[in-house]
């Protein structure tokens, strides 16, 4: 009887719990558990319950599952997603049922386009966790430019090949870096996208190799593809710097690539601070595998931000319910009044009405370091203030 009196808030959390990115889903779930354990799953006298919504990495399945969570499980608020296409499809559902949903990774452009097409309708989908790739990826150009200026590297040509997985993310990243390289005076000689899950890159790589490029840059989000690409690049004897954005997203990547990943550049958060390392070790101790900083790590931060939102809503609006969440989002989160500074990775997580739904990017806010992998470890080589060493150039390219 007393249970009925207890107030419960149901949070629907979307993640790729099965399917090609299931590993990421697992990390999400675990890191959210760790974050909510810290507050004992309570906000005031509200008990927090999570409903795990499996996106299976598919836009349509995710939308169906989200809708099911709304009508069957009667969730009050949504939290988190990974893929941008999942965000885009669930945005539609959130708008239909007017369910506020906080913080989704989805880096690609479709969410932004959708939001801009009707801000009023889509205001329920509150904020991206991961900004558009072009805002971050400028780090690559600066790193390369610096290495050239310092005389560390004399590229044989100013030619670039862009590759990537054929989805919203891969294409968004590809076209962003393409433009940046072009602006920096490089020539993009080929641009190739492959299907999700492709593991055969000999034709693609030999094509790139024939073009004699100095840099191959792109992103593939699933581990089999990206590790196959890296390994085969070495097998065919590609003599170019490889920029593989997101190689380190999944903790087990090194097992798959081995030292074929040496010298590869990536731009990804690192376990740099002592708090971050502690989180990593706690996680490993509790769940038996090492988390990725960009998935479990960032998700832990956003969970912290989300808890702060819940607490603020209770404090400022008196009760936890859909309307108040929406109010809190519109009045405090979107205009940047409510920000989060206790995170492990960024100094401050903040939104502004100008950049919404992207977070504010730049020093002091949201920024990723550029790292270079050697023997399975990432060394930070950009920006200046975090730098651990200069870029290393492999023997055969000097």
């Amino acid at each position: 009887a007393s249970a009925a009196a207890e107030k419960v808030i149901k949070v629907g959390s979307i993640g790729p719990f099965t399917g090609p990115a299931a590993r990421v889903g697992q990390e999400f779930k675990n890191s959210i558990e760790m974050a909510f354990d810290e507050i004992d799953w309570k906000i005031g006298d509200y008990k927090i319950e999570f409903v795990w919504i499996d996106s299976e990495s598919d836009a349509e399945k995710a939308a169906k599952a989200y809708e099911r969570a709304i009508v069957r499980d009667k969730i009050d608020v949504g939290f988190n997603t990974w893929h941008s296409w999942v965000s885009a499809s669930c945005m539609e559902v959130a708008a239909k049922y007017k369910i506020p949903h906080f913080f989704s990774f989805g880096a690609g452009k479709i969410m932004i386009d959708k939001y801009n097409s009707n801000p009023e309708k889509y205001k329920y989908w509150v904020g991206k966790t991961w900004p558009l790739p072009e805002k971050l990826s400028i780090g690559y150009i600066e790193t390369l430019q610096e290495a050239i200026n310092k005389g560390l590297w004399k590229p044989r040509s100013r030619k670039v090949a862009v590759y990537g997985v054929d989805n919203d993310w891969g294409r968004a990243f590809g076209s962003a870096v393409k433009k940046q390289f072009q602006d920096a005076g490089w020539e993009v000689v080929t641009e190739e996208y492959v299907q999700l899950g492709e593991t055969e890159f000999y034709p693609l790589l030999s094509k790139i190799k024939r073009k004699k490029v100095s840099v191959a840059v792109g992103s593939m989000s699933d581990p089999p593809s990206v590790s196959a690409f890296i390994k085969q690049a070495r097998e065919v004897g590609l003599k170019s710097m490889i920029l593989s954005d997101g190689l380190g997203w999944v903790g087990e990547w090194y097992k798959l690539t081995g030292d074929a990943s040496n010298y590869v550049l990536d731009q990804i958060p690192q376990w740099t601070t002592p708090e971050a390392r502690k989180f990593r070790d706690d996680f490993t101790a509790r769940y038996g595998f090492e988390p990725g900083a960009s998935s479990a790590g960032l998700c832990h931060d956003t969970a912290g931000f989300f808890i702060k939102v819940l607490q603020t809503t209770l404090k400022d609006y008196g009760a936890l319910n859909r309307e108040n969440f929406v109010k809190c989002a519109v009045e405090q989160v979107i205009p940047g009044k409510l920000t989060y500074t206790e995170g492990l990775f960024m100094e401050e997580y903040k939104y502004t009405t100008e950049t919404f739904p992207d977070p504010v990017v730049g020093k002091g806010y949201y920024i990723f370091p550029v790292i270079q992998y050697i023997d399975g470890k990432g060394k930070i080589i950009w920006p200046e203030e975090w730098k651990m060493s200069d870029m290393t150039i492999p023997e055969n390219m000097k």
């Binding site: 299931a22 590993r23 000999y202 790589l205 190799k209 581990p223 390994k231 065919v236 798959l256």
Partner: protein, 300 residues
């Protein structure tokens, strides 16, 4: 010169790819020919082979060749078990509509195996860096990983041994005989049950070896079988279901077709193009490229 190089690369890449398609397709074709089973769980046997090789190589620290052989042995056993558990009772009970019923059973098996793998190993990727270090450079502008070359050679050897077995040994001939007339085979003294179990196990073994050979390229995970399954169907249908010898040619054709598409049109269009070509061919050769009409290759 540039163009020649390009073609050469395509040829090499296509052949390497095609060899392994052939290995898969031979098994699929064999089971269809002998047991009239359109096996939709062939990809899961490939998956079992990949997992087996992974554990053999990383956990039990067997050598590459032993790992691949171990995978072959395990899938062979898995084949025996599957045949005895699923197809034997079905055979005892089904008279009519065998092809459809057994096909549905394979769908069921595929779902069971895939989800059991998820349950036992999770959805993560169990991969290795490589079996053999090193690479080979030979006229080509690109060099080729040892793994691929050896994998391809294993495929060729296995297929050759297999074709020899089918045509030149008494057991092999018995397998072919069963594929054509079961009553006739019994009459001349062939033990049907044994041959059918053997056939399924051999086919499973071929798929398992393919999965094991490719472990360094495709890590093991529960749903990894789907793509190879599709590809082996393409090959088997293209050349005529049940035609073992032609499956080899078919594997190479599909492998090349895909590589050409990949290089000139774009990765995503591989399936569209190779499927369109296969559809066109079927329109003119309804029994497949090398199928013979009136002779039982298709079902009736």
């Amino acid at each position: 010169m540039e163009l020649l190089m390009e073609w050469w690369d395509i040829l090499v890449a296509g052949t390497l790819r095609g060899g392994l398609y052939a290995l898969m397709a031979v098994g699929l074709s064999l089971v269809f020919g002998v047991m009239n089973v359109a096996n939709f769980a062939h990809g899961e046997l490939y998956m079992i082979g990949a997992y087996a090789a992974y554990f053999a190589f990383t956990v039990f620290h067997l050598g590459p060749v032993s790992s691949i052989l171990a995978a072959g042995a395990i899938t062979f056993l898995a084949g025996i078990v599957l045949e005895k558990v699923f197809f034997y009772p079905l055979r005892m009970r089904t008279q009519k509509q065998w092809v459809m019923n057994s096909f549905l059973v394979t769908l069921g098996i595929s779902i069971i195996l895939q989800n059991s793998a998820k349950l036992s190993f999770g959805s993560t990727y169990h991969g290795i860096t490589q079996f053999w270090a090193g690479r080979i450079t030979w006229i080509s502008s690109m060099s080729i990983a040892m793994d691929r070359v050896v994998g391809f050679l294993i495929a060729v050897m296995v297929i050759t041994a297999f074709v020899f077995f089918l045509n030149k040994t008494q057991t092999g001939r018995a397998i072919r005989a069963v594929s054509q007339d079961e009553t006739g085979s019994q009459i001349v003294g062939i033990n049907l049950d044994r041959i059918q179990t053997l056939t399924f196990a051999l086919s499973a073994m071929l798929a398992g070896i393919a999965g094991a050979c490719l472990l360094s390229i495709n890590p093991a995970y529960p749903t990894m079988g789907l793509n190879p399954l599709y590809k082996s169907w393409f090959v088997a249908i293209l050349v005529g279901m049940g035609n073992i010898g032609a499956s080899i040619a078919g594997g190479l054709i599909v492998g090349l077709l895909e590589t050409v598409t990949y290089s000139y049109i774009g990765g995503g269009w591989q399936d569209v193009i190779s499927l369109s070509v296969i559809i066109m061919i079927l329109l003119f050769k309804p029994n497949g490229l090398f199928g013979v009409k009136g002779v039982k290759t298709a079902l009736e």
